[in-house]
């Protein structure tokens, strides 16, 4: 079995992970980077597997990948981390089987996934996340459909509209729950460097023939795939006016999402401290703004896992965490401290923009209530909202209770998809804060791995070869 001893293991090959790896290797540490994707780049710097870098954004990514390699970073692609233990032992699995890393420090840059909430019909084929639509276009050069509706909230929807336009698949319909324009203009006025990007994203949204603000999708309709949707107005308080709903026919793909959720499985498994802020995507890993260090010694976190803020803070927090992790192991060259201070200042400004943007485009307050009693909430175990509500009425509490009573969150995805919704349903029915509902604790294996691989990896770990 492959066993790799390294100074610093970076988990995640997006902007945060690549920046962390490059800065740590530049300081003189031995750095290995493990990433689930077929090629590094993550979601933001996604590389076309056939054509290579075809856009400015992916070219920026391929430059970052080349810089990491030039700095001596060993990149392990197509490898999913499925376990982590105190003492720096991380188990991953790729096409060739298990690979175990023994690292002195870890930088977790696990990124984010689309945040979703259930509504009637959301399990129909053809209904997917905006991120899935973007990956179909970027990695598969495949249009999600011929008549696409794009819905939810937040600037990422505009980015998806732009990607779809690049493969001649401009959506027919763009539905945003938010309406207010003035706060966005105010934010841009305070961050003028971001205006050009905003103008280009706005142009992508304007290219959509039917752009409706202040609306949500309340239902997807169809037999074996989505064929139509129902939409309704939503006010600033998040109340959906279903009495004024209308049906839109001829939709063959619906991409709906509410920004992103930090992927905290690994930091939670490592017992790092987490905090809740709905505007930052929900639960996120708390990391020092001065170093990127988490509450656990030797474990650093960077990028979206530390709270949704965008690619710029991801790069800066990655560089900061890499530099700090290297310095913590004694790898520091002259000028490092000056560089760290510059990164801390730049990160504070970039993060404040990202966080304010998140606060401008929250999911509507009652979004989890779009699901009715028959709607499946947990897609893995097919648990309905009615079953969760019944369990809560019988006295169970929070996400953990709902899981034990109904199996919601107990399936293959471990509640990564339904967790936000189950928490909001539990909070709404129990009259508590959403944070009080907690989250699904991750369990080993974080991702399914063949049993022989688990045995091989854990047996090798048990030998104490390197301890």
């Amino acid at each position: 079995m492959r066993r790799i001893e390294t100074d610093i293991l970076v988990v995640g090959g997006g902007p945060a992970g690549l920046s962390a790896a490059t800065s740590a290797a530049g300081a003189g540490a031995r750095v290995d980077l493990v990433d689930a994707g077929a090629a590094p780049g993550g979601q933001y710097w996604m590389q076309d597997p056939v054509a290579g870098a075809t856009t400015t954004q992916s070219a920026e990514g391929s430059a970052a990948i080349a810089a990491a390699r030039a700095a001596g970073v060993a990149i392990h692609s197509g490898a999913e981390v499925w376990a982590a233990f105190p003492g720096g032992e991380i188990m991953a699995h790729d096409a060739e089987g298990p690979v175990v890393f023994q690292a002195r420090s870890i930088v977790v840059a696990s990124g984010a996934q689309d945040r979703v909430y259930p509504f009637p019909g959301w399990t129909l084929p053809g209904v997917m996340t905006p991120g899935a639509g973007q990956r179909l276009a970027k990695l598969g050069k495949t249009a999600p459909g011929k008549r696409i509706a794009l819905a939810g909230n937040g600037p990422f929807l505009y980015a998806v509209a732009a990607t779809l336009a690049s493969i001649d698949a401009t959506p027919k319909l763009l539905l945003e729950s938010g309406k207010a324009r003035a706060p966005m203009l105010g934010l841009l006025a305070r961050h003028p460097a971001r205006i050009a990007e905003a103008v280009s994203l706005l142009a992508a949204a304007r290219a959509v023939p039917n752009w409706r603000r202040g609306h949500v999708v309340t239902e997807a309709l169809g037999e074996d795939r989505v064929e139509a949707i129902r939409i309704a107005p939503v006010d600033d308080a998040g109340t959906v006016d279903t009495a004024r709903s209308e049906r839109i026919d001829g939709i063959d793909a619906l991409l709906v999402g509410w920004g992103f959720r930090p992927m905290i499985e690994l930091t939670a498994l490592l017992r790092c401290r987490h905090a809740y802020d709905r505007a930052l995507g929900g639960w996120y890993c708390v990391a020092s703004p001065a170093t990127g260090l988490t509450s656990v010694e030797g474990v650093y976190a960077a990028g979206e896992v530390t709270g949704i803020a965008g690619s710029r803070p991801a790069r800066l927090s990655g560089a900061l965490a890499g530099l700090s992790a290297a310095a913590g192991l004694g790898f520091a060259s002259p000028g490092n401290e000056e560089r760290r201070k510059r990164l801390v200042r730049a990160l504070a400004s970039a993060r404040s923009f990202g966080h304010e943007l998140g606060r401008l485009a929250p999911p509507p307050a009652g979004i989890a209530d779009l699901a009715n009693d028959d709607t499946i909430v947990c897609r893995c175990e097919n648990v309905t909202r009615g079953e969760i509500a019944a369990a809560l009425a019988e006295g169970t509490r929070a996400v953990a209770g709902a899981k034990m009573w109904t199996r919601a969150g107990m399936g293959r995805c471990q509640g990564r998809v339904c967790g936000s919704a189950v928490a909001e349903i539990a909070a709404s029915l129990g009259g508590t804060e959403i944070a009080a509902a907690g989250f699904n604790p991750p369990r080993i294996p974080l991702r399914p791995v063949p049993l022989p691989a688990v045995l091989e990896a854990t047996r090798a770990a048990g030998t104490g070869e390197t301890h």
Binding site: Q113, P125, R135, T142, D224, N382, R416
Partner: protein
Amino acid sequence: MSEVTIFVDGEPVPAEAGRPLGALMHRLGPAMRRTEEGAPRGLFCGMGVCFDCLVTIDGVADRRACMTPIRDGMRVETGLAGGTPS
């Protein structure tokens, strides 16, 4: 990278090696499997998180189509046409 042939439920399908199988499967029709209750499911998250796009690849069940790059000669079973639901 090149044009290759894969087999979906026994039928030959031209494909581009290296691209995600999930994208090709979505083009063939968004449903990729049925739940135990018989409900169709297809690609949802597209990034390996949700496990909705499970298919059988070269005899191995429950593989995520979205995370699997296309290889020449790959044999994919969907379980849509009377196969075992996953």
